[in-house]
């Protein structure tokens, strides 16, 4: 056993986990602020911890921006009564939030979030089957929701669970099919190879080379993360809260964190697959870093791209109304799957001609 490998892996896992959890907390804040601004409101602007008074100018400003709000949210989630209704199936009820949360975090293991810091590659597990692993784990995410719907043993969660199982399974197909052209072009399933394939020129980014694949992946990503316009499993207006109707306190918070962590991991996937990951095609930023500063810059570039996607996902939620269930299924099965299949065939044909 290589001890330094173990040590560095643990450090990376710890850092990635804490960064992701912070991002989740602040993604919630951004969501609340963006929704407020779009609806002519001001959003959370009051949470003032005791020490904010002692910061001269910045304290009130941070308070107005709601910077302390996530702390209050977390405190509330922890301190609330964790109520288990009498009619639920206890084991599944306890299991479901964890199962909903864990896959979202696991997918982050294969994402290269930077090039190199010193001799360390900035990826937790540089798997050769990176994307296969991701899809395998992502498809586990649906179990959390289905189990929650089943365990709650009441009608709204049950409907939510049913909807989510149908929705996530159908969109997984188009999601999986949409990225195959990328791997035809790259010739490897390793996500680091995908990134190096996109270096050199802005138009090497797969978003420009495979716009259709990107489009389908983006929309399937909305469906996979249960975000509007495809939030049918949750559908507050018709199903109360869908699969998490019966949950409270920390268990509900786990679903919530899971949703936002899934948003982050799916955005990370999109950045890696289509937007060139940590690279930028200027100033030699598309080559693995040789110095510590460059390495940090690469991580920042990755995070910036990630945040763009997060804002996009959040913005869309306040922009589009929810799809009807049959429209959702129609879009998935009768539009995206044929288009994705055609895209594979065309890409393969073009690659074949280019070779010969």
């Amino acid at each position: 056993m290589d001890w330094s490998f173990l040590l560095f892996s643990v450090v990376k896992i710890f850092v990635v986990f804490s960064v992701v959890m912070t991002m989740v907390a602040y993604a919630v804040l951004v969501e609340r602020k963006v929704s407020a601004f779009i609806q002519d409101r001001v959003g959370p602007n009051r949470t003032t911890p005791f020490f904010a008074k002692f910061i001269p100018v910045l304290g009130p400003l941070l308070t107005r921006w709601g910077i302390f709000q996530p702390m209050a949210d977390a405190l509330k989630a922890i301190l609330k009564e964790d109520y288990t209704p009498g009619h639920v199936r206890k084991i599944y009820f306890w299991l479901a939030p964890a199962i909903a949360m864990v896959p979202a975090l696991l997918t982050l293991a294969v994402i290269p979030f930077g090039s190199q810091l010193g001799a360390q590659k900035m990826v937790i597990a540089d798997l050769d089957v990176g994307i296969l692993y991701t899809f395998g784990i992502v498809s586990l995410g649906v179990y959390g929701i289905v189990l929650a719907g089943y365990a709650a043993n009441s009608k709204y969660p049950f409907l939510g669970g049913l909807r989510s199982s149908a929705q996530m399974i159908s969109y997984e197909i188009s999601m999986g099919l949409s990225v195959i052209p990328i791997f035809l072009m790259v010739g490897s399933l390793n996500l680091s190879d995908v990134i190096s394939h996109q270096s050199g020129n802005l138009f090497h980014w797969h978003i420009f080379q495979q716009p259709i694949a990107f489009f389908i992946f983006l929309i399937a990503a909305f469906a996979e993360t249960n975000r509007l316009p495809f939030d049918l499993p949750e559908a507050e207006t018709e199903l109360v809260g869908g699969y998490h109707t019966e949950y409270s306190s920390m268990k509900f918070a786990l679903f919530f964190l899971g949703e936002y962590a899934a948003m982050i991991s799916v955005s990370a996937m999109m950045v890696t697959l289509f937007l060139g990951g940590w690279t930028l095609p200027f100033f030699g930023l598309d080559q693995p870093a040789t110095s510590l500063g460059m390495g940090l810059l690469h991580i920042l570039i990755f995070l910036a791209k990630l945040c763009c996607f997060l804002v996009l996902i959040i913005w869309v939620r306040w922009m589009l109304p929810r799809f009807r269930y049959d429209q959702l299924m129609d879009l998935g099965w009768r539009r995206f799957i044929p288009v994705a299949l055609a895209n594979i065939v065309v890409t393969a044909a073009v690659l074949l001609f280019a070779k010969s």
Partner: protein, 195 residues
Amino acid sequence: MIVERKELSLAERLYLPAVVNGFSVTWRHFKRTVFEGRNAAKETSDGYYPEVPWKVERGYRGAPYLVRDQEGSTKCVSCQLCEFVCPPKAIRITPPGPDGPPADRDNAEKMPKEFEINMLRCIFCGLCQEVCPEEAIFLQKDYSLTGLSRAEMIYNKEKLLSLGGTHAGTQKWRHKLDEARAQEAFPIENRPAAH
């Protein structure tokens, strides 16, 4: 009735124009709130809610309270129509019964011994006000009812009357009362002799 469903045009089916449209609308509002500092609270009021209470417009359906008439007596005659009509069954009236205390005003047969509204159940629908033949209960302007316990949120007659205040409307049976009083005061000696 059968609603004709229009065939959607290609642009509508593509959904993309709707996305562009949606973005322009949301961006307009976002820009207005973030860069121009305008928001609903500023436009419609002097500030934000808890500090600057919301101005309640006429016709708002707030909490239902009992009212007194101009002379300070209870208008409610314990007919229990509101209790009967209340959809969430938030109202409970205890009538005085045969040996209960008499009404505190003339020409009313009775008044409720106890009148309770459970504000946790009340849905502010206004049916009680609508059904009341005596104009004794009105939905008033209170919209922020709070309490520390469930028991505290059940308002009794005393509380409802003190919150309700006086209603300056018509006194429905006033002319009857006046007539009755006039009758009593009418000097019999002066009455024209019967034929």
